[in-house]
Subunit: 338 residues, 4 copies
């Protein structure tokens, strides 16, 4: 960390700051220039708070030289992580592509099994489905909860597809015993209490970027889980909030190469929630595959207009089949290149 | 709700939509124009999902005529709500101003009692202090937790100031028994599981706007708590994320008049977190008072450069005293007007 | 246009509004429901200002049924437009891909000719280069101006590549006589006076989306040029401003399918300015090709670290060659699909 | 400027960078730490482009120590600038408050004179009115142009109020001969060609912040004008674009104290365009006054529902009179404090 001291700062105050830093087991390296004094801080600076230091009146600015995340940092783990999912140890990352599909909400046995079979036939490698649903309104359908998980497990038994479903409360963890991948939704990306609990288990966690969170914050949230001991993390870009209204959110596909550079964790993309519009899912899924995403999570419903939630963004199974084929075509082409 | 049907929509599909709406205990009113058909939906449309309907391929657009929140809606509760805090039933709202001050984190008995005394002397009506701290990094100081709450209660006994502190996990509720106002932080604004639990108690809840949440979403989150039976809600504007970097977030003071129009709940402002810079707190606090805020929540620390967190935005007690006086001056001037 | 009137509106005021609308050569269709009155407005509503009407105190809301742009609207021009560039009538759109490459700034004859030759060899179809440079700071290099255009024309003579360069002032138009495509930069997207002047010529215009402009506003800016008589427009997505700092801007690739739905004009993508980082250009270029972009505009420099501007985002010619090949691979794969 | 070099950078490449910097008449100061090398750059670094350097592959990060603006910088001009307007040399800044009011568009002699008289009676110090109107749609009313300026001058003769009106094209400058303050609208904030022309005259320029521009960029645009020799600049905050939809834009009042810190130029606020809603203008005007704005620019119309543009945000004269009184009350209170 580099701290730039204001030219007018009193020497005494600068010494106070240096002592305070050194009292935290860090070393300093002072460089006095014509116009500025620079304090280089050496050691584990993850414990220093940039904003605190930046706010001191003798400080002109602060620049981090090293990232505040460690376990998730590619610098200390240069090779791609490969996450293994379910009993079959299905791989995600480093060339293994996850194609996760299914309905926004689990609604009935018939629904989830029918969708599971059709997405499997189309090439999906995992089944998603909401049992606990985070809804903006308390009056909206909140999911079938425990029953929804039961139905997902039923679909897993029928098709062999590992299942992915969202958790909203650490107290529900016992219900997720047989779930293969636990999803943390965008709204819970910084629910640190939940993240800490998920650090205590070993199941893969799919964590979605919050609607106004930076990629570094997403990595810090992954770090919360990893710091607890669970390194099985899949990151997911799902759009951020901007002023644009033609799509529900703005899908930030640059997240894929940026995250691949910063971290060894696999990165998947959710074009359904990002755009909120079924007919934009195919082009965005293809784009995600082209820029190197390690997977996709796509909403599929057998009857979009009657779906209990998010019908607007769901594909029909036959549409998903086309998306799967298009994505496969792009991936094969891209693989040739490298 | 008004649904605008695409001109090219097949009559049969339109009828399907109408039947589906009516199957949900709603009535419809069809108006067929030269170029468009409009379906007016009458009844409790809070259960309809705009985006679902908007995504149907026969639908051109959807426009809500009534808001999806009820308990928080001023339309059904025209008079300002007054929230009563603590044993002394201190009032907030409808002309009663809350001046909440205290450190970001509770650090020690000496610290919290000294700050409590000085902010009380300067005119603060409540003491704030973080015991459970939401930190972006797992390696940052996470608060004194239960011990922090104990120290706050100690400060309350010493000064009589009601205390405000943040909850991050509903499982911690027993520790908040004697806390006067429970704060829900910006990152938990859509932690719906936590909101539901807070709906089951009767203690006042101070809920902060999320960094990328609309004012309507803030009201929906209040509605989650109110739908559970707890109507003692104080709303808090604390800045939203934008591209501007001169301040940590962008304080959206228009939130004050907008929320006062939409809801009967009191609205307070947090200029410390919004700007992230101590020297901008005073002008923003004055501005908040001038546009009708029902209170302020301000960070005060006896030793900002050594505070364990957020020192940059904390005022020294003597600076807070000036802010309190300036705010009082603005408030008296404004009161004259009405 | 659908106007939803507030339930409490006085009949007399509603009649005033209706008369005012009808005085503008529009017809109205009133539908009185139980709780609301809806005014449907029929005719050329492009002349009505949504915000004006929305702000009337008797109005609850306004919903446009038709778009405020006509010439750019796919509804009235269902087939893709194909723009013809230069003497060779090089095509852009409807399957013809534009690969535009070149330096941020033209610096010297040797530089521009060397780059022109190498990008042509790598497959570029046009040469870009800045002669007039919009720079945030008045102290930054502002381009070689007229001399820069001369050098571009020299490079065109040498290589046969049509040239694309930015205009900042309509008074400079005489200098652009032999330029093949005139670019309007993001900062001038709503320089309406410039757009009007460009509507009076017949040369293709490449117009970039502003940093905080919606896709509909981009179409309205295209409409300004088209309304003047010049229908040779190429739209360009180049990233929008968000809170994310890992990339300079956030590339909004959903713009490609959204614009393809709303308009018949070709849509190209600028991954260099959007990301601001050379090593993210390749994955984003591939993603753009995968989601159906009609072209790319990419910065290439023979000596990025010494480039006078924007070196950070420029590729070396050999890197560009790899990007061109990767894009071609993705495009061939995608073409197979349709 | 501080350049942080990557630990793995080859010494030879670092030397190249140092030579290149020194070749631009700058001196360097190298500080080699255990993990990093830091290059301090001394001299007039306004000519260095942060992004260029930041993008070099041997560079980890760049931190500016001094701002890239000079004439506008408070550091070199510690006292508040006072701008003198019109023949009467009406002052703006350093305690002199500008209350600018008038219609969005000049429509007729009767209209502008009637409004001018009523806003003058209510305490306005200048008259605003649009003659050249920047409209998103080419089909919207574009203003009365030269005739509009004539009518404004007529109103000035009748009332003595100096007039403020927007310029969109430097070629129109001769028409602005008798205009007292020339406004540069938000969409033209980075129309650098126009800014350069305005630097050649001596008339006061009121420059509005762009919808997605940082405060530093606003200062750089002021710097464009000042670098040309015209130091009579008034800055104007008018809201930025965010995801919030309850107001047209998000008024960023922190801009007032931030700009007052960074620059000596006066800062005024436009609550009408920022909120887009007439009933939010009063609270936001009061807030602006409370946080130290040097003036306000407010839309007033004698007949908002029939105004040709922006009626939604215009106040009636009697409403403006209340706003003026409320602002005066807040200002008197605030003046007492200092």
């Amino acid at each position: 960390m580099i701290i730039i001291v204001k030219p007018e700062a009193k020497e005494e105050r600068v010494q106070d700051l240096i002592h305070w830093i050194e009292s935290q087991d860090l070393r300093t390296h002072i460089s006095t220039g014509e116009y500025t004094t620079i304090i280089g801080v050496i050691g584990d600076t993850t414990k220093l708070d940039d904003e605190l230091i930046c706010g001191l009146d003798i400080v002109k600015g602060v620049k981090r030289v090293s990232e505040p995340y460690k376990s998730a940092n590619r610098k200390f783990h240069p090779l791609d992580s490969v996450i293994e999912v379910g009993a079959q140890k299905q791989k995600v990352g480093h060339g293994s592509f996850a194609l996760i599909a299914g309905p926004c909400s689990v609604e009935s046995e018939a629904q989830i099994i029918s969708i599971a079979k059709s997405v499997k036939a189309a090439g999906a490698t995992m089944l998603r489905g909401g049992a606990f649903k985070p809804r903006t309104s308390p009056y909206d359908f909140q999911g079938l909860k425990a029953d929804g998980i039961e139905l997902l497990l039923e679909a897993k038994r029928e098709t062999g597809l590992p299942i992915v479903t969202e958790i909203m409360n650490a107290n529900h963890l016992p219900l997720f015993e047989e779930v293969d991948v636990i999803q943390v939704g965008a709204r819970n990306m910084q629910n640190f209490e939940l993240l800490k609990e998920l650090g205590r288990i070993q199941k893969p966690i799919l964590i979605k970027r919050g609607l106004a969170n930076t990629l570094k914050e997403l990595l810090m949230s992954a770090e919360y889980i990893m710091a607890g001991g669970n390194e099985n993390i899949i990151l997911c870009e799902r759009g951020v909030r901007t002023f644009e209204t033609a799509t529900r959110n703005t899908l930030d596909l640059s997240a894929v190469p940026v995250l691949h550079e910063l971290t060894h964790l696999p990165v998947i993309v959710d074009p359904s929630h990002a755009t909120g519009v079924a007919r934009y899912v195919k082009p965005m899924a293809m784009a995600a595959a082209a820029c190197g995403a390690d997977g996709l999570i796509i909403e599929v419903h057998n009857d979009p207009p009657r779906a209990l939630c998010d019908g607007a963004q769901s594909l029909r199974p036959e549409e998903f089949e086309q998306v799967a084929r298009a994505v496969e075509t792009v991936r094969s082409a891209v693989c040739q290149l490298s």
